[in-house]
Amino acid sequence: MIDHMVLGQEFGESIGLTTRAHVVVGLVTLCALAFIIRLLRRGQLRSKYAVLWVAAIVPLGLLAVWPGLLTWVSDRAGVFYPPTLFLLAAVAFLFLVVVHFSWELSRLEERSRTLAEQVAMLRADLDTVGLDAVGLDAVGLDAVDQHATFDAESGTHQTSDGMGTPAV
């Protein structure tokens, strides 16, 4: 165990980090973890992203505590200079994350379009039925006021013929 630690220190110094730097990195990792968990608790981060970032932070924390891990993995991957592997892995990870975000954005934009189209058609339906689309207009696109929307909808619901009749 002590040999391990000494090796770790030597390695750490060989890649340019003193023990103190290691401790700092370790602490920063812990703070990052706490931050992600906090965002998750506040409902400001979707749990699927929380999983992603926790999965990214944990290996970093591990490396901070046990730098020899990087050497171990590099040897098996056939890389001579361990920091190269680290940088490569980090870049690959970030690349994949960003591509994923592009994919998600594309999906969300398509869904937004669909919603806008349906809103336009609903407004037209309301107009033909003679109801003022005040409910929809007053809400606006940024406000999410479910009651206003539902008032407009229940107006349609009662008079329009496309929504189905109430069950017995």
């Binding site: 608790r41 189905g164 069950a167």
Partner: protein
């Protein structure tokens, strides 16, 4: 009755007919979660209210739509059941009776009595067992079936869920913890369900594994809470009000 449905044109008529004959006094709303078949039309012709979502939101999204509908239309209770005929309408009065007896939420459980014949595969049983354990540790209460889609809700729970119902896969566990965390009384009612027929293709399994891990993280990140036997639902004045989407809350179970 809230019935989330995705491409269930075959089984839905039977389910609706069953409901109509067993429980004629109840309104039914079918939430069409982006079906590509005639699910909406089938539901409408059977006389149910239909909410047709413009695209697939997933079970959590469909349910929240149903809950918002229930609140907007002024219903005082709601029952959730599946569109595929797995749930038996004749067992609904049992769920409602639990609400009558003071529960805020009644969960139809397949596993309350070990005599129930419902079978699940070993891996699935192991995963469900782990979830049960975690729920017990977090809430102090034992639940035998954390993924049931056969449930009854009182109005306060409907209000909570209309704003905060979780959107991701396997939302029922998060929903359970959300209700418990807010001080609601949740009871289990034994029910029988028909077996699910097909197995699961491998990519579904991978997705399930991911969501299971995600769920573990969510549960781990919640603060442990134990419900005092006699305390009612928590009603904070203005802070940590779970009906405000933008107010930070102590709970991670926020409909994310």
């Amino acid at each position: 009755m809230i019935i989330p449905a995705l491409n269930e044109e075959e089984s839905l008529p039977g389910v609706l007919e069953d409901l109509g004959s067993c429980l004629p006094g109840f309104d039914v709303v079918v939430v069409d979660d982006g079906s590509t078949d005639s699910t909406s039309a089938v539901a409408a012709s059977a006389g149910a209210h239909v909410l047709t979502l413009p695209y697939n939101l997933g079970i959590g999204g469909a349910l929240r739509t149903g809950f918002r509908f229930a609140i907007a239309k002024g219903y005082s209770r709601a029952v959730q059941l599946d569109a595929d005929g797995q749930h038996d309408s004749s067992q609904i009065p049992g769920l409602l009776a639990a609400l009558d007896n003071g529960a805020d939420m009644a969960v139809g459980s397949r596993f309350v009595d070990s005599a129930s014949p419902y079978e699940v595969g070993r891996v699935r049983a192991g995963a469900m067992g782990l979830l049960r354990l975690l729920v017990r540790r977090r809430s102090g209460q034992e639940f035998s079936d954390t993924s049931s889609g056969f449930r009854a809700f009182s109005k306060p729970v409907l209000e909570l869920f209309a704003d905060n119902y979780p959107s991701e896969y396997m939302e029922s566990v998060e929903a359970l913890l959300l209700a418990l965390h807010n001080g609601f009384k949740v009871v289990e009612v034994p029910v029988n369900m028909s077996e699910r027929s097909a197995g699961m293709p491998s990519n579904r399994r991978l997705r399930l594994a991911f969501h299971f891990l995600r769920l573990l993280l969510v549960i781990a990140a919640t603060e442990p809470f134990r419900r005092e036997p006699d305390s009612g639902p928590r009603r904070d004045g203005g802070s940590s009000s779970r009906t405000m989407r933008t107010t930070p809350s102590q709970s991670v179970l926020h409909g994310r």
